[in-house]
């Protein structure tokens, strides 16, 4: 007896979003569940961006810090290393040094860093604040001006500070990342608030808040699946943005990415365990629907790229 393929096609479609000028990236655009090439169109592969920051990664665990030894003291050198030596398709700079509890760098300093990095690279740039609501509003406005017309992503806009950041994106012709707290309704609400300001919904990426393997991954996974199903099955235009998984920062906080084999005998070799932690987190969230991922370890990123090769 022949098997009748139970294909499912949907009315909805995820917006395709691009970034960069010379070496443009485009992701999203599919009208089916993640990697369901057998029943619809998946025109673009997910994009993995290498994470760097404006200050040396003193707080990163040893296993990941040593990968960038010698380049991470300066964001421009670091960015060029990722682009030229690691073949990064995109770079995400986190302006963590602007956080009041950290170096408390000024918005002007942050803007200069962004300008310098942009001058040094040709791949697209994602500009992220330090996740401090008030400070981000000031820092990201300055960073947006430094990145004017460069087709960068700017984020993360959150419920408490989105107005300033959205306005900065509109004034400087930039793409936007909006983050809400692990809830499909909050995510939808923020998308609506942002588009009500006149921001083009097709320039927006949703971050439903990432969590690492073993530390809430199940929540992010299901919120992403539900957002994607709403986009496709209900054709809900307020949910059709591509999704970001901010994997590295979460995964490298997990105990399993830090504890030595002596401290965690059930976990085996630390280096491979930590890389696996980041790769598995990324892979699960890609299967759940994220098209843009921010990661740290080249080996984890290479494994994820090979995995995408097999899926596409």
């Amino acid at each position: 007896m022949a098997f009748t393929a139970p294909n499912e096609t949907f009315a909805g479609k995820v917006f395709a979003v691009d970034a960069g000028l010379d070496k443009k990236i485009t992701f999203g655009g599919e009208n089916v569940l993640p990697f369901h090439l057998f029943e619809g169109d998946v025109p673009n592969r997910p994009v993995v961006a290498y994470e760097i920051q404006d200050v040396p990664p003193a707080d990163w665990p040893e296993t990941i810090k040593k990968v960038y030894e010698g380049v991470s003291s300066d964001p421009v050198t670091w960015a060029k290393f990722c682009q030229d030596k690691l073949n990064a398709r995109a770079i995400a700079i986190r302006l963590v040094g602007t956080h009041p509890d950290r170096e408390n760098r000024s918005p002007e300093d942050a803007a200069k860093t962004v300008k310098d990095v942009l001058a040094a690279i040709t791949v697209p740039l994602i500009i992220l604040g330090s996740n401090h609501i008030e400070k981000d509003a000031a820092v990201l406005v300055a960073a947006a001006e430094a990145a004017k017309d460069k087709n960068c992503f700017l984020g993360k806009a959150q419920e408490e500070n989105y107005k300033t950041i959205v306005a900065a994106c509109m004034a400087n012709n930039l793409k936007l990342i909006a983050m809400s707290q692990l809830d499909i309704n909050l995510s939808k609400q923020l998308n609506i608030l942002i588009t009500q300001m006149g921001y083009n919904k097709e320039n927006l990426v949703t971050d439903p808040m990432c969590s690492a393997l073993g530390y809430g991954l199940d929540y992010t996974y299901s919120v992403m699946e539900r957002i994607r199903l709403a986009a496709l099955t209900q054709n809900d235009v307020t949910m059709q943005m591509p999704m970001l998984a901010d994997v590295g920062i979460n995964s490298w906080k997990a105990k399993e990415s830090i504890a030595t084999e002596a401290e965690l005998p059930i976990g085996g070799t630390l280096e491979q365990r930590a890389i696996a932690w980041e790769a598995v987190t990324a892979c699960a969230l890609m299967i759940a629907g994220s098209e843009l991922l921010i990661m740290r370890h080249p080996e984890a990123i290479n494994a994820v790229e090979k995995f995408i090769d097999e899926l596409m």
């Binding site: 007896m1 022949a2 098997f3 009748t4 393929a5 139970p6 499912e8 990697f35 369901h36 090439l37 057998f38 509890d101 393997l213 073993g214 530390y215 809430g216 991954l217 199940d218 929540y219 996974y221 299901s222 699946e225 539900r226 199903l229 906080k253 997990a254 105990k255 399993e256 830090i258 504890a259 005998p265 059930i266 976990g267 085996g268 070799t269 630390l270 491979q272 365990r273 890389i275 696996a276 932690w277 790769a279 598995v280 892979c283 699960a284 299967i287 759940a288 080996e299 984890a300 290479n302 494994a303 994820v304 090979k306 995995f307 097999e310 899926l311 596409m312």
Partner: protein, 447 residues
């Protein structure tokens, strides 16, 4: 496909005799349709009705058990496509492949690894579930010897006997039939002989096809030969094929009532690159495989997959909980700080992670809030002054420490006065609101 209440009603005696405990046959039918009652309750039901209702109420994906005893693994019985729709029920088994070309020492080493693989995470015992032994030599005697070695070393570990030679399958099955191995398996060329082996030894049978058309034909044939417990291999090996075939199979079984593919799926994830291999296995775990087979099980690999499986198979309606207890982080001396938090696993992991990161040894009291976070627990009356006081008193922690100070989460600062009332002699200190404030808070205290 499931029958409606009215369809079931038509098959009942319609006597309204109440012997089933329901006021009418219709009421009973409605309960049956919702799977809240069992047909056994009706003493007068006809054989024909039993047959029809039995078939209709059979789970769309047949339950199949791999192994026997404590380490048996239940597979199948899934009812949803997405975990948020309800929950995934029977966690995907993780198996490691060995070959009969390996020496007895090598086989024993892998068996040892499997026997020592068990870990405890959030109160769940998880381990490498099975060994897949393949007849790579093509030689029946070698296969038999390898199975004998494994059965002697790890008698309780479920086995997957991978051979397409019926004679080798028979020889191996005879040795370990009592432990209910999976014979993998039957293909177009050997289906009759393999079905016989499976039937004779009352064990489950893997079905190996190239593509879903062939798979459907083969399971129908084997079912006709009298074997009910099957495990499917559509031939999918690349990630793209695995996602496609697994999705098609799950959908056809659940949404189309296709019984020919209503069985658990086995996925072979082996790759030369271990990092890629765990991603292929991750795809299987997330997307509908019931067994994934790996080439090796170094601890770093299996831990990542164990935790992913736990995340995917956690019931979204029931939060994972940590046991109520006083946990030591680092090696706390008797004057080390004592903190309290809730037993929601995520809260516990984040709080204990931040404390570990701070390198300050502490005692962490974890109060049973039925899996609610601190603030939700407080709002729901599960994280209250009297519960905290009772727990601290009954825990006996007072005898272990030289001080009487308890640090509570900043979000429940409001409780500090009432806890002091209920814990006479104790000083209650309000800690940071968020876990990420703990390192600075703890370090400031030790300076």
């Amino acid at each position: 496909m499931a029958l409606s209440g009215v369809e079931i009603f038509k098959l009942l005696p319609k006597t309204n005799c109440k012997k089933c405990g329901h006021p009418t046959c219709l009421a009973f039918a409605m309960k049956l349709a919702q799977r809240q009652a069992s047909l056994d309750l009706c003493p007068d039901v006809s054989e024909e009705a039993k047959k029809v209702l039995g078939e209709a109420s059979a789970p769309p994906i047949r339950p199949v058990v791999l192994g026997a005893g404590d380490k048996a693994v239940k597979m199948g019985e899934e009812t949803v496509m997405f975990r948020h729709d309800k929950t995934f029920v029977n966690p995907c088994a993780i198996a490691v492949e060995v070959k009969d070309t390996m020496s007895a020492d090598e086989l024993n080493a892998v068996a040892d690894q499997v026997l020592n693989s068990e870990i405890d995470r959030v109160g769940q015992k998880i381990r490498i579930d099975a060994i897949c032994v393949s007849n790579a030599s093509g030689d029946t005697a070698k296969f038999e010897a390898a199975v004998k070695t494994l059965a002697a070393k790890a008698p309780s570990v479920p086995l997957i006997l991978s051979t397409t030679d019926p004679a080798a399958a028979e020889a191996a099955a005879k040795l370990v039939a009592a432990n209910k191995p999976l014979i993998y398996g039957a293909n177009d060329a050997n289906a009759d002989a393999m079905a016989n082996v499976a039937k004779n030894h009352k064990v489950s049978l893997g079905v190996i096809a190239k593509g879903l058309d062939g798979l459907t034909a083969l399971t129908d044939k084997i079912k006709g030969l009298g074997v009910e417990d099957m495990v499917l291999d559509s031939g999918a090996r690349t990630a793209k094929e695995i996602l496609r075939d697994n999705t098609y199979i799950r959908r056809a079984a659940l949404k189309k009532g296709n019984k020919s593919v209503g069985y658990p799926i086995i996925t072979f994830a082996q790759r030369d690159n271990s990092m890629l291999e765990i991603l292929i296995a991750s795809l299987g775990i997330a997307k509908y495989s019931s067994i994934v087979v790996l080439s090796s099980i170094d601890r770093w690999k299996s831990l990542a997959l164990f935790v992913l499986r736990q995340n995917i198979y956690t019931n979204p309606q029931v939060p994972l909980q940590v046991k109520q207890d006083i946990y030591k982080i680092g090696t706390p001396s008797n004057d080390a700080p004592l903190l309290i938090t809730s037993n929601f696993s995520l809260t516990y992991f984040i709080v204990s992670g931040e404390i570990e990161g701070s390198k300050v040894p502490v005692r962490l009291a974890v109060l049973d809030t039925e899996g609610l976070s601190v603030l939700t627990g407080w709002a729901a009356g599960k994280f209250t002054a009297s519960k905290i006081a009772q727990f601290i008193q009954e825990s006996g922690v007072e005898k272990e420490i030289s001080h009487k100070e308890l640090i509570i989460p900043g979000y429940v600062a409001i409780l500090s006065g009432s806890i002091e009332d209920k814990l006479p002699g104790w000083k209650i200190t309000v800690g940071p609101r968020e876990a990420n404030g703990l390192p600075a808070f703890l370090k400031a205290r030790t300076n």
